[in-house]
């Protein structure tokens, strides 16, 4: 599987590219639990890119790359925004943040994928997950 494309800041296109990747993973026989983890992480990254990165600026696009190599899926999402420092994002599970209605996306990405790196000043997130069945992360189910 190898997908490389640019999409506009449209939440329906977000779902389309996500479906394309999950369909490909399904065709490779990937465990449904792993597909769920990858879908959530990828959609959160795309959502962050469109909302917080590009701020839905129609002049800006989101780059999406996804590939499976050596039993691992690697997904890269990059926006054209101002970037951010991931370590500055407050922990949404802290008591003072638990009732907040934003700030869970980065946390979910970090917990669902095996490796997460922010590059290019936080504009680009690179997420890797091993496609072994025992690597399902959503609550260990």
């Amino acid at each position: 599987m190898k997908i490389k494309t640019f999409i506009e800041n449209d939440s329906h296109l977000l779902k389309e590219i996500s479906r394309e990747v999950t369909d490909e993973l399904r065709s490779l026989g990937t465990h449904e639990g792993l597909i769920f983890d990858i879908q959530v992480a990828m959609e959160e990254a795309l959502r962050n890119a469109m909302i917080h990165g590009n701020k839905f600026d129609p002049q800006k696009k989101v780059s999406v790359e996804a590939e499976v190599v050596g039993g691992k899926v690697r997904v890269c999402v990059e926006d054209e925004g101002a970037g951010f420092v991931s370590s500055n994002v407050p922990d949404p599970t802290d008591e003072e943040n638990i009732l907040k209605t934003s700030g869970r996306g980065v946390y979910m990405i970090n917990h669902l994928m095996d490796e997460v790196k922010y590059e290019n000043g936080g504009r680009r997130v690179v997420m890797v997950k091993c496609l072994k069945q025992n690597n399902v992360k959503h609550g260990g189910k």
Partner: protein, 110 residues
């Protein structure tokens, strides 16, 4: 996503069918306006037919809880699939919400 409200033994039961995500969350928020306006104080959200929730969906459910707390309303969740429950556990929202296995259990627990 589809949302249906039904009154059962004085409890408003909201059954959601489909994904609660970036596209459907605004509709879910809007569908609860009447609940807040009428200050319904016992509400169950049945998520038994929900296969996918993203951070927008989680935020929407948290917002519903916050709005109901303003008038001391009680919100319970029911029927979460293992996958959706996993997301509540990862984000520690399972500690914030009263979660039952079935809508009937949630209704009877008021």
């Amino acid at each position: 996503m589809q949302i249906n409200f039904e009154d059962k033994s004085g409890v408003s039961v909201c059954k959601v069918t489909g994904d609660i995500d970036i596209n459907s969350s605004p509709d879910m928020k809007k569908s609860f306006e009447k609940v807040f306006k009428e200050k319904k104080d016992k509400v169950v959200i049945n998520l038994g037919e929900v296969g996918y929730v993203d951070s927008s969906g989680l935020a929407t459910i948290v917002e519903i809880l916050k709005n109901m707390r303003l008038y001391n309303g009680k919100l319970k969740l029911a029927g979460l699939s293992d996958k959706v429950m996993g997301l509540f556990e990862i984000t520690k929202l399972d500690r914030l919400f009263d979660i039952s296995q079935t809508a009937e259990q949630a209704i009877n627990s008021f």
